[in-house]
Symmetry: C2
Subunit: 334 residues, 2 copies
């Protein structure tokens, strides 16, 4: 049996309120008693029961995080950032991996509701009205990270996808490439799919390279799909000398395909990625990519949620963080 406040009180020969006081406002208790209590706490290894506390405070000091795919390195970074922020702010963190499964996501929300999490960070996924309504119905405050909502006014933190994609493609163009393809996210299940495509289009158009706009194929989040998409892309457009991949994992899939076809990267084809995962500098060749401040995104999302929780609102609704081009070995001048 775990010791309760009563056991501590008995051992220290004080009332339970005194024990409660030394746990919460030590200075309001005279030193002699305080010491006795603290000693009893030590000896019994007493830890206040958070159920009892939760009942009173009506807060769990726990945040929930919903991520689509824990096997994607991107989210490991978001988790680290968020976890560090949680430590700083005094929250525990509950991470749930939805595997991009609607039912699972919905049931995790129920779970969060039951466990009384104070707020939720919803990562990277499209906020379908169904999700939104459920969250609102449960009265759980939430923010979006690496995502945003056009339909609803939900606080969010992300990079400027359009601008970042533009920068990537512009870099390829400045390298002298004229035949540029793209491996993008399917637009129907991805928030960043459309803006990154827009960035691709804008860079091309601005340089009079519109003929490339159609040279894009789509994949859904994973390496294998990107490999397949690369196959389609190079079958249709063998003239390509550069490709913009909207995720580092796509860049790896593309390079892997090219390798199997004996096409050299960056010798014959330049490939640029997006995200700057930890793996990206380990890959061969090391990936040129658009770095997202992944850790910071997670950190900031937790702070923003905290802001929402404590003040009831956020200073800036939709926040953009800086991206940065990282030039490594997968791209070369044409």
């Amino acid at each position: 049996m775990k010791p309760t406040i009563r056991d501590v009180a008995r051992m220290a020969e004080v009332s339970i309120s005194t024990v409660s006081r030394v746990m919460n406002a030590p200075n309001s208790v005279v030193e002699s008693k305080r010491n006795r209590v603290m000693e009893a706490v030590e000896r019994l290894r007493y830890q206040p029961n958070s159920f009892a506390r939760g009942l009173i405070y009506k807060k769990s000091f726990t945040l929930g995080l919903l991520i689509p795919d824990i096997e994607n390195l991107y989210f490991a970074g978001v988790i680290r950032g968020m976890q560090d922020a949680c430590i700083k702010l005094g929250y525990s963190l509950m991470i749930c991996n939805t595997d991009r499964d609607k039912e699972r996501l919905l049931s995790y929300i129920d779970n969060f509701h039951e466990k009384q999490v104070d707020g939720i960070v919803f990562a990277s996924d499209v906020l379908y009205p169904e999700y939104h309504d459920k969250l609102v119905g449960c009265r759980i405050p939430f923010v979006l990270v690496s995502s945003h909502s056009d339909e609803f006014d939900i606080p969010s933190v992300e990079v400027d996808d359009e601008e970042a994609a533009y920068d990537a493609v512009k870099f390829l163009i400045d390298l002298g490439h004229k035949d540029i393809g793209m491996i993008g996210f399917n637009h129907d299940n991805s928030v960043s799919g459309p803006p990154r495509y827009e960035g691709f289009v804008r860079a091309l158009t601005e340089s009079g390279l519109q003929q490339n706009i159609m040279k894009s194929k789509y994949a859904s989040h994973r390496f294998e799909h990107a490999y397949q998409a690369a196959h389609e892309l190079f079958t249709d457009y063998p003239e390509l000398t550069a490709v913009f991949c909207v995720a580092d994992e796509f860049a790896m899939g593309t390079i892997s395909y090219l390798k199997d076809r004996n096409i050299l990267v960056p010798g014959q084809v330049s490939v640029i990625g997006f995200d700057n995962l930890r793996m990206s500098s380990m890959f061969i060749p090391k990936l040129t990519t658009i770095a997202q401040p992944i850790y910071e995104l997670g950190y900031r999302a937790a702070e923003k949620l905290h802001e929402l929780l404590t003040t009831g609102e956020v200073q800036v609704l939709n926040e953009k963080m800086e991206h940065k081009l990282i030039v490594r070995e997968s791209t070369r001048e044409k």
Copy 2:
């Protein structure tokens, strides 16, 4: 304000006990009342408060997972397995990433204690007496995954590291290699370091290749360290034609180093890894490796913990799961 059982009772015009009954034993309530209650529950989106429940049941139906490094793909698999098992068994999961920091780990245990997790899965790390004592002091049952303890009798699930390492090295020998090196884990902060080294030694000795035993360098968990260790290894032993890496991430670091030195893999040097991460089949060249049943390890650990929690003991204390050699492209006959 979230609705309470009282609100539901009022709306359904029954007592709170009746509401409690339809939530927990619906059949003990006549249909008419039951329907009224269920309707009220729907309309109010009532969700029982788990604090109040926890106070009564003295259980949180939550498990804790302690992992050393969430940016290591290995743990993503463990998490997935464990999370699926948790869903099946009716637990929520609380994941904490220690970043291999002692203080942090200890404070997470306090956190788990306070949050009243029912049990903990401790992943991959060495169970220092300090950790053991704290866990025991908190009276939180726990099991080890991808780890074991020689000092204490703690339930564990892992692969047979010695045997698996032996298989890896034997494979290299059977390929005709006579000059074989190793990049291992530092023995002082790794559980699987020693047994994998033992496997290396046994395979070598058995084939009369003892002269290789000294040809080993150590790294601590990450790519960059393995890159450095590979540098040391090949500086000291340039004659090597094969290297056994005790982690896929080490194999990647080694290959990356070799690539920078313009040494071909597998053309001039064969490299075998260990783990079979998702990335390993994406790497160039695709990694030959010893596959661990990562997902199953996580799944099984949760089941084992559940067994410990419900029956007070486990059928088999230290459980070994099957590993498997996966031959891909990073190895070749000598």
